[in-house]
Amino acid sequence: MVALGVAVLLAVALVYTSFSASTEALKPSQLLSAAPGTSADLTGRVVKGSVQRRGDSLRFRVADRDDVSKSIPVTYAGTVPDPFRGGREIVLTGTVDDGLFVGERDTLVTKCPSKFSSSNA
């Protein structure tokens, strides 16, 4: 009985905290039309040849995974994972500010070009 009660409590806590703590994952095309100040996890593909280093920060464009024509400019400062480069898929937490996506420090995640993916990814 006690165990059951604790389990229910844990379940309620999980549901409650997860919906309030999570951030939405949005594609560049969705972010382009988002209200200024929207915070989100940006997911998409880094446009090849768009990566520029400006002092401490990086500027690049991120496009929809399936549609390269829709892309948003991004600025980011912080650690850059090893696999980061043009053409790779990334996830970055941040906010939209005047058509520019400002990434939070050290939140850039680059997907591993894993052994399990096709070699030309």
Binding site: A3, V6, A7, L10, A13, L14, T17, S18, F19, A21, S22, T23, E24, A25, L26, D41, T43, R53, D56, G78, T79, V80, P81, D82, P83, R85, G86, E89, V91, T93, V109, T110, K111, C112, P113, S114, K115, F116, S117, S118, S119, A121
Partner: protein, 788 residues
Amino acid sequence: MPSVVGSVALALAFLTAIFATVAALLGSRGERRWVDASRRAVYVLCALVTLCVVVLEVAFAGDDFGFEVVQQHSSIDTPPFYKLTAMWSSQEGSLLLWAWILSIAASAALYSTRHKLREVVPYATATMAAVAAFFTGLLLFGKGVDPFATLSPAPADGVGLNPLLRHPSMMIHPPMLYSGYVAFTVPFAFAVGALAARRLDAEWIRSTRRFALIAWAFLGLGLLLGARWSYTELGWGGYWAWDPVENAALMPWLTGTAFLHSIMVQEKRGMLRVWNVSLIVATFSLALLGTFLVRSGVLESIHAFGDSTVGPYILGLIATVLLGSTALIVSRLDDLRSPRRIDSLASREAVFLVNNLLLVALCATIFWGTFFPLISELFTGEKASLAAPWFDQYTTPIGILLVLFTGVGPLLAWRRISWESARRVFLAPLAVAAATATGLALFTDAADSPLALALFAFAAFALTGLAQEFWRGAAARRALAGGSLPAALLAVTSRNRRRYGGYVVHVGIAVLLIGIAASSSFQAKRDLTLRPGESAVVDGRTIVYERPTVETSSEALSFGAVLAVERDGERETTLRPSRRYFRPGGAEAGTISSYFEGEATSEVGLEAGGTSDLWASAAPGIAGVRRRARQADENFRACVGGDPGTPPQCEALSRLMRGAAANPGLRPVALAQIENLQSITAERLARGYLSDDAPATFRVIVDPLVTWIWIGGLIALTGVLIAVWPARRARRAPGRGGELEALKEAKYREIRDAELDHAAGKLSDEDYAILDAELRREAVEILDRERV
């Protein structure tokens, strides 16, 4: 030709697995003939799948690019070690690995139970053979996963292995994880067999306990190797990120841990039967889910696995396993009911139950967090994800409670503990825990993190309790047989491997958790941008960027730094972090600039120590190098084009190029010439970095006690080895009455256990007298059965 051998062996393996399933089911009606046939079929299956693996490995070793899988995942330049391990970097290769490990584990399990569990084994064989049929069938009929697909004509070279994965632990990590996943099939299959045959005593557990323990150890080792790789090879300095794929391997490990504890309650007390079969079903399903997550792409993970065609099939298998097992458990509920109840909350079984609930709660939390993107998409239409802080807020407190109960469990006796005995065994651990907490709070800044302080105190409690167990066990042995203390310690351990092996595992886990708590709570991390000669202070140490370094090899250009670490004016150590830019191949090559834009990996500068690790990664400022590379590319173009004003050597080159344009036969020569020139130029440009005086960005981390994570893991592994090592008596060839023999052994062990508990002060004289009499009566009953 070899590919035909492989294909035929695979097809035969599939048919053999089907035959073994059918024969085992026929044998379940009582015909020994069919049972023997099914067991031998599993041995044959193992031989056939081994042949498939050998064919593929020979192809990898011999650069046979006629095999599509070899061409896609290896190349002539790939070092030999990576050629042999490249097999499981492919989808088809890793599925074959699954089938191979399964066939080995199934053969071992059936060999060791050939004289036991007559009613259970046929169903268990059928279950394992059916899973083997699933995986061999998947390889045979699945789209795009034929390991023996050929390319004609065979290409001259292969694509090669991704540079990021060229790390020894990355090659050992997948087979370790897989061995863990797969070995859980054995206890699962025997649980199904026990349910189907209604033989729900603890015999199926006794027969498969070793497999469960080995599976657990492999899975743990796989997790540890993955963490180690992340720490030393990826430039971010962490070892765990709550990534879906990490979680997928952790979840079955947690339920497996719970299973290993709760089966002891069934062995000793005949309780928790429904719980045990449910746990092993959950563990096996989670292991399959781990395989599925890696193979599908349903979750956003840093491991971007290719969308594959095999995902839905594995999902189908998980659904079958869950539905079938649940139906089986529900239909056997009457047989599963235990005649006994828990006597007292202050007993080992009660603590095991609490630890089980905590482990399952931890697993459920991680499950929810891992699959939250799918859950949220279902309810809100948006894929939303949860980050590490969300996981931490649940896993940290649950983990701390687990450490507490890890400490309490071994101190309690089965059934109940008297007030008097409790005082005796808890006194020292409680005193040490209190002293540790006070000492840390007074003399260090551990109090800044109350949760970490609690963990340290609980870990001190657990470690003292374990030390006391060893001490009292050895003392009891000495009282009985004399000898020196170390000899007594050795004797008592080797005579009670399960118990003391388990204690060693607990020591390892406590040490590992201390390492995790310290390194995650008290880490000092700074990002610095320095020019050569400049310095900065991190956590009381001065980091001096002494000079840049450049290394060139046929594989990569590497830009690094020499960092001097000084403390109180004295040089403590030197760190040499660097970043390697791998030379591009194929379509990405063509310009000198491309040499600096390819795949790059961090080589971490690491000074590991007992109290703390110094960790540094570097992001060199190679903007100058790149600018000169672009300039060189332009010059090169002008040179080849024969533009006016270019040096005289250009003329020869430009003639060669014009010749190649007209005569395709000359092209390879011209290309080789250009590649050679570009390579030399790139190396010269790279060396220019030394005199650039360019700023580089460093991440420097001072990570306390992180080494103890790896040491704790090794201690735990040693404990597992002690626990699974066969006792000398058991190595005797089992006769026909193997099962009764095992039952007798188990009862004797219980009597010895009670003796030890009494000697260690956990059982009061009165309780011991009652328990001992009861156990001896049960032992006599078994002996009577043997005489019949």
